[in-house]
């Protein structure tokens, strides 16, 4: 008796307890919705609280009820030689489900389905009860994702490397960035950075930059799409005190601020990736151009001791990150630290060696890369 409402509230606060129940195997979303709906109906009946187990059981029974009605209606449609069910199949199915209870006119063998007792009961139910609208707007589910396939040899206009490979097969990835699998995202930063440096030595640095821009675009876009769904879901604020009616947590609630995808980075990739069309702006500025001032500043820099300077740049990773992506270019110079360092660097006399400059430039680009690869960290900043 006493362990009703408090229990459900505590359950909601621990996401781990939800995860341990894998009933339907990927059906958690529908079951959660069923639970909310059942809870709402019970609340309108006069209940004030639940045992979590009772709610689970009842929603499970309800799901089975729907499944059984559907199965029965489908079966009756098949019996009469149809694949699509009609109203009479559904009524027959409902009669089947109601035969345990009994309904008016059930005893007559050849009663008309149109005037079935089940339908009359439902009719009364509809007329009597006040409709309670479901607490949240729900998107259509299950979501079927459109798969984006790699272009085939035909689409790319390339010749397959061997006669045994038909042209309709997907083309091989570029040998340069084939080792950069998009699956390893944001984790394998270090090896890739090393690789990038090697490629810079060979003068082929442009490829991975473009590639990581694509990755970033897809990352950010996935994120923003998720946020959109969550927004629509959370639009209704629910009655207080009932954890089942509380609006679902938005993704951005966990984070300090949502970062709008910087439109200027995306121009190069727009052609390949139709989904980012919304973000297109007129003048294209590549990421490297964006950071040109920073790199220039470093070029002009010099220092008394090499080690000091390198150390400094290593330590300043997060700051440079700001300079790169968000603060300096898009949101204005809201942090005084960045111009300060730039000025500081500029006022220093010029002593630097050639290779040292190169080294710093490379380092700056490496930092840039890392920050582009880890948009999550940017968001946290």
């Amino acid at each position: 008796m006493s362990n009703g409402g408090g229990k459900t509230g505590r359950q909601l606060e621990q996401p781990g307890t939800w995860r341990r129940r894998k009933v339907g195997g990927g059906d958690d979303f529908a079951r959660a919705i069923a639970k909310i709906a059942v809870a709402q109906v019970c609340e309108s009946e006069g209940f004030q609280a639940f045992q979590q187990s009772a709610l689970d059981a009842l929603s499970d029974v309800v799901v089975r009820y729907i499944l059984n009605v559907g199965k029965s209606a489908h079966c009756h449609a098949n019996l009469s030689g149809r694949t699509e069910s009609n109203a009479f199949d559904v009524i027959q199915g409902l009669e089947d489900m109601g035969s345990v209870q009994g309904f008016a006119g059930a005893s007559e063998v050849d009663h008309c389905l149109e005037s079935s007792g089940v339908i009359r009961e439902i009719f009364h139910f509809v007329n009597e009860g006040e409709p309670v609208v479901f607490a949240h707007p729900i998107p259509r589910f299950p979501v079927v994702k459109e798969r984006v396939l790699n272009p085939s040899f035909l689409q790319k206009g390339e010749e397959p490397p061997g006669d045994h490979i038909p042209a309709w097969l997907p083309a091989f990835p570029d040998p340069q960035n084939s080792s950069q699998s998009p699956v390893v995202n944001g984790r394998g930063t270090e090896p890739r950075a090393v690789k990038f440096e090697q490629e810079r030595e060979n003068g082929k640095g442009e490829w991975p930059v473009l590639n990581l821009k694509q990755q970033m675009v897809s990352n950010l876009f996935e994120k923003s799409a998720l946020v959109d769904v969550a927004d629509t879901k959370a639009k209704r604020v629910a009655a207080e005190g009932n954890p089942f009616l509380a609006a679902p947590l938005k993704i951005e609630d966990k984070e300090i601020a949502s970062v709008p995808p910087p439109a200027k980075f995306f121009n190069d990739v727009v052609l390949d990736n139709p989904v980012v069309e919304n973000f297109v702006q007129s003048e294209p500025i590549s990421a490297l151009e964006t950071f040109a001032p920073a790199i220039e500043a470093m070029k002009n820099t010099c220092c008394d001791s090499k080690e000091d300077q390198t150390k400094k740049f290593v330590n300043e990773k997060p700051t440079v990150r700001f300079k790169i992506g968000i603060k300096n270019k898009l949101l204005g110079r809201s942090i005084g630290f960045i111009p300060q360092t730039e000025e500081h660097n500029k006022t220093l006399p010029w002593f630097a060696m050639e290779d040292e400059k190169d080294d710093m430039k490379r380092r700056a680009e490496k930092i840039l890369r890392e920050s582009l690869e880890n948009p999550d960290q940017l968001v946290q900043l």
Partner: protein
């Protein structure tokens, strides 16, 4: 469909009543969301593009839930009423109507669902104790 012993007039009336009722379902928003019902109907093999039938199933499901919940509520109230007077004062503070497994299984038994509390399932350390002795 079945043979109807009634006259064709009566059948026409029923026909009109049924289609009226189905049409009226379009204005009625059941608590069970259409998407949920559609999802599970599709899972069971049911195919029909008609939204009214989905609504019909949704309303029927809602009626089922409401009936079960109503029965459980009656059980709950009856159980609370049988508590002796002297103990009821103590319970007054948490005299909330809580849907419990006990009432639910009693209510569902009438609908052909045999539901038992899990044997060693414990919501809390006090679960499984006699409700009357739980206060101590």
């Amino acid at each position: 469909m079945n043979q109807n012993p009634q006259s064709s007039e009566g059948r026409g009336d029923d026909d009109a009543a049924l289609s009226d009722f189905l049409a009226s379902l379009m204005d009625y928003t059941p608590t069970i969301p259409d998407e949920l019902v559609e999802h599970y109907l599709a899972k069971s093999g049911f195919q029909c593009p008609d939204v009214r039938l989905t609504r019909l199933v949704a309303v029927a499901t809602q009626k089922f839930v409401a009936e079960v919940a109503g029965d459980a509520l009656q059980h709950c109230k009856a159980r609370q009423a049988t508590i002796p007077k002297d103990k009821r004062d103590k319970q007054q503070k948490d005299k909330r109507l809580v849907l419990t497994m006990e009432d639910l299984s009693k209510a569902l038994r009438e609908y052909g669902v045999n539901l038992r509390h899990q044997e060693y399932f414990a919501d809390s350390p006090s679960t499984g104790m006699d409700p009357a002795t739980r206060e101590e």
